[in-house]
Amino acid sequence: MPRMGFFTDTSVCIGCKACEVACKEWNAIPSDGALDLTGESFDNTSELGANSWRHVAFIEKSVPSQDASAPDGVRWLMASDVCKHCTHAACLDVCPTGALFRTEFDTVVVQQDVCNGCGYCVSACPYGVIDQRKDDGRVFKCTMCYDRIGVGQEPACAKACPTKSIQFGELDDLRARAQERVDALHEQGLADARLYGDSPDDGVGGTGAFFLLMDEPETYGLPPDPVVCSRDLPQMWRQAAIAAGTLLAGLAATFLGRRGQRGE
């Protein structure tokens, strides 16, 4: 089974939020309560979470005008964010129950009948994606529509996207397509266009859902150089073993003193 993924080309995102709606509908995700108007451009979803598996970011950036008499311009960026389905997934590594698992499509999914809501994955995710549904206690995130892709359908968000900003397919094909697209944008003079998460050499081994961005990742709320925390785990276990040995030996040594010293 080839690895399946998302390529989200933000250069053609029009901020329609069809992906958010389709995801909510298909996956029967509950509402977060009354609509909260944030005043942050057109974004009232704010972030990915247990009840938001796609999130469209809106960034309005003032561009100083070249001509002193003309008003400054605005550059408007829109981008649909999603779980990255990392090659080296911290959430999956730290899950103590095996509720998080890797599917035959190389995606990362929570088995809701196993999750006991320990919350370890929430603190492990370097992208701040997975979260706990407070009234339920368990954690939830994007499944890349495991039920749909299992029967040959594309995920709901990709199906609903009217501009092909969200593309679903075999990851190798998507990477090749993304490279062509970023080269084309560079030729058009858009030097800020760059791919994010496409490289197998990055701190998470590349992501199953990667992006074409038009600015620095942190502008969109993405970490610029995420690293899977468990990369350092062998070294951490070694350090803890040394500390445990020190504790054992040190406390044993406190009994070596002669009895009958002052106070005894």
Partner: protein
């Protein structure tokens, strides 16, 4: 101090955090870091007291270890989103998950600590009880230290940056807590070893904490600022005062020993809550995620440029 600090410039999405705040309740999980350490180190000291003819010290430490590990288990289960599914922790054994390893460690340690305490209290099966005490002491060292890996193996900037130092902070803190319990509960005539443990534990904890607070880059700020900073300053004061009290007066006055013991217990608990709060604070501000990662990228970039320059020069030299 923080007012004069140079604030790094960075971009964020409306100032929102990149990471999610831990879902863990401080009372449950920082509480567990404290009681787990207290239980583990108490079992080690209890085994030592048992074999060196200090029966009152051994008994109070064994009972303390059992009480602390029972409170730990209750806190851990209470903190789950689905407490009724706590048994899923033993569904798999995953070395890549410190929480899974910790669950198995507790599954081994808990019954041993229980058997050790109950045998001591009732006099039933004394030989088995003594063996259980040794087992609890050995596994207790693991219980006291693994919790550092539990919190360091996360994306939480302050905790992950402190991964080299945390194990020593935690075992030092565990030793002072257990020594505090011994000083508080045992007759002065048996507390020689725990007074030494108080001093040694405090020295390790204070030295490792100091190294941690200054060796963790930008995220180290969170150990000084706000609630975490206040908790950790109070922790150091309590731990230092308790250790000095234990060393100087602990052998002479029962009251001084008890007060020193309480100070040491408080110091250990404050350390755990302070470190917990620092971690939370480091997830709430995106600068602790973005700025160190940007610096890392800049280093990689300059290293790559250096490499290509050297390669270019070597090629040039080869052509001539």
């Amino acid at each position: 101090m923080s007012k004069h600090r140079h604030e790094p410039e960075f971009t964020s999405y409306y100032g929102r955090p990149v990471l999610k705040e831990p879902t863990w309740e401080p009372a449950d999980i920082a509480g567990y870091l404290f009681t787990g350490g207290l239980a583990g180190a108490s079992s080690i000291l209890a085994a030592g007291a048992q074999f060196t003819g200090r029966p009152a010290l051994a008994r109070s430490l064994k009972l303390g270890a059992l009480g602390a590990i029972t409170a730990s288990a209750a806190a851990l289960i209470h903190d789950l989103g689905k407490p009724s599914r706590f048994y899923n922790m033993l569904r798999v054994a995953k070395p890549s998950s410190p929480m899974s390893m910790g669950s198995w460690l507790l599954a081994g340690y808990g019954p041993l600590a229980g058997a050790s305490a109950l045998s001591d209290l009732t006099g039933v099966l004394p030989a088995a009880g003594r063996t259980a005490s040794v087992g609890a002491g050995v596994l207790g060292a693991g219980v006291a230290s693994y919790t550092s890996v539990l919190i360091a193996d996360t994306a939480v900037p302050a905790w992950h940056a402190a991964r080299h130092h945390l194990p020593f902070v935690f075992v030092g803190s565990a030793a002072t807590a257990a020594a505090g319990l011994g000083l508080l509960t045992a007759p002065t005539g048996e507390t020689g070893p725990v007074r030494r443990a108080a001093v040694a534990g405090a020295a390790v904890e204070l030295a490792a904490s100091n190294a941690m607070e200054h060796g963790t880059g930008l995220a180290g700020e969170t150990f000084h600022d706000g609630t975490a900073g206040r908790l950790l300053r109070a922790a150091k004061a309590c731990t230092a005062a308790g250790a000095v009290g234990a060393a100087v007066l602990g052998g002479r006055s029962r009251l001084a020993a008890a007060v020193s013991g309480l100070a040491l217990l408080a110091g250990s608990a404050l350390t755990r809550f302070g470190i917990f709060e620092a971690g939370r604070a480091s997830t709430k501000d995106p600068k602790y995620t973005v700025v160190p990662q940007r610096e890392r990228l800049a280093e990689k970039d300059s290293a790559a440029r250096c490499d290509s320059l050297v390669a270019g020069l070597a090629r040039g030299a080869g052509d001539q």
